[in-house]
Symmetry: C2
Subunit: 218 residues, 2 copies
């Protein structure tokens, strides 16, 4: 097919190019299979078959299944960090911040559905290594969010504990919303709109709470 009909000479393929290509095939196959099953019940044989390689070839890229899981986590948290960066970029007008954040989340969630689904699944999943890694990364994410929030007008005098309360509320909200929006129910546009609208209102109610919040102790 592509050998002669294609106009581009796609033949010359470096050795590490090819390796990287099958590595991606493995990662993509895993992400697709993880839509139907948990990481714990992921079969190496079925995975490699879906990736188009023979079972034993897997070990040329990962020495264990857990290593594959951690690689998937790296990818997934890359996109999660991209989310916060995209929200931060542009105008940081406090008024439009909620709408902007919800919109960005909605778009990124649709674009990298597999990554967020993976995080949401394995966050409470059976594998202890993945679970702890996700917990750690999410706490870093929350911390980063907290430092951002500290610069918001009206929150300058909040203590670390207050910021933690608010940031964890937002993270919990994001995780919960992501869990809903990656599900099959969110494919129906009207249902998806309801979910996003409710998410926006939830965020607003939390912001109202933050506005009326009197900082703890001290």
């Amino acid at each position: 097919m592509t050998s002669k009909a294609a106009a581009v000479p796609d033949k010359p393929e470096s050795r590490q190019e090819r390796k990287e290509r099958t590595r991606r095939a493995i990662l993509d196959a895993a992400l697709e299979m993880l839509a139907d099953e948990g990481f714990g019940s992921l079969s190496l044989r079925a995975l490699t078959k879906a990736a188009g390689i023979v079972p034993t070839a897997f070990y040329r890229h990962f020495s264990t299944l857990d290593e594959l899981g951690l690689a998937l986590l790296d990818e997934s948290f890359m996109t999660l960090r991209g989310l916060i960066r995209e929200v931060r970029g542009g105008d940081p007008a406090p008024e439009t911040l909620i709408d902007r954040s919800v919109d960005v989340l909605s778009v990124q969630l649709e674009e990298h559905k597999a990554h967020f689904r993976f995080i949401g699944r394995e966050r409470q999943g059976g594998n202890a290594v993945l679970r702890d890694a996700i917990r750690h990364e999410l706490s870093l994410f929350e911390r980063e969010l907290a430092t951002d929030l500290a610069r918001m007008p009206g929150l300058e005098r909040w203590g670390a504990a207050d910021l933690h309360v608010l940031a964890s509320l937002f993270v919990d909200l994001m995780v919960a919303a992501a869990g809903e929006l990656v599900g099959p129910a969110a494919d129906h546009p009207a249902t998806r709109k309801e979910l996003v609208d409710n998410l926006r209102n939830q965020a607003r109610m939390i912001v109202v709470g933050a506005a009326g919040w009197e900082p703890l102790d001290r």
Copy 2:
């Protein structure tokens, strides 16, 4: 051992008594194993071995593994409903309601850790049947919570949409907190106290938000 040494005559065991006993053994074994793995990777052979029966005997109680999962869900949501009932009972003074709810949740969570862990795991787990069932039950739970909230002072004039926003916030918060509190990190008393304290503050911030909330449209 128990045949002669025991003072109680534990011999006379009815047929359905015995059946119920092994059924419980299966359910308990499953709940224990589900602390380490997802339902999707639950092995029927390992399960029946843990329950003290031969693999094929499983089918005398459940015709499929999914049926076992649904039975576990029934149990788990029984305890969840017990939670809301216990909060409702006693004095419904709005002032102490948050502290009371958090305390009840903390105790019930410790007492029925396996049930809540099961719900939290399979909520985003691989099995579509369990996932949908949990989603449905949680939406019922949220609805029930919403009708309770509708009777609270200051919320009498809220619309269904407003109540949905607040109730879903509380449910998300409860699910998130449960996920943290069933983990091994919550075994350390100091860590657990931090988690519970933060949960209480999160609930308070939401309540402040609800107090300052102006109902949608109309």
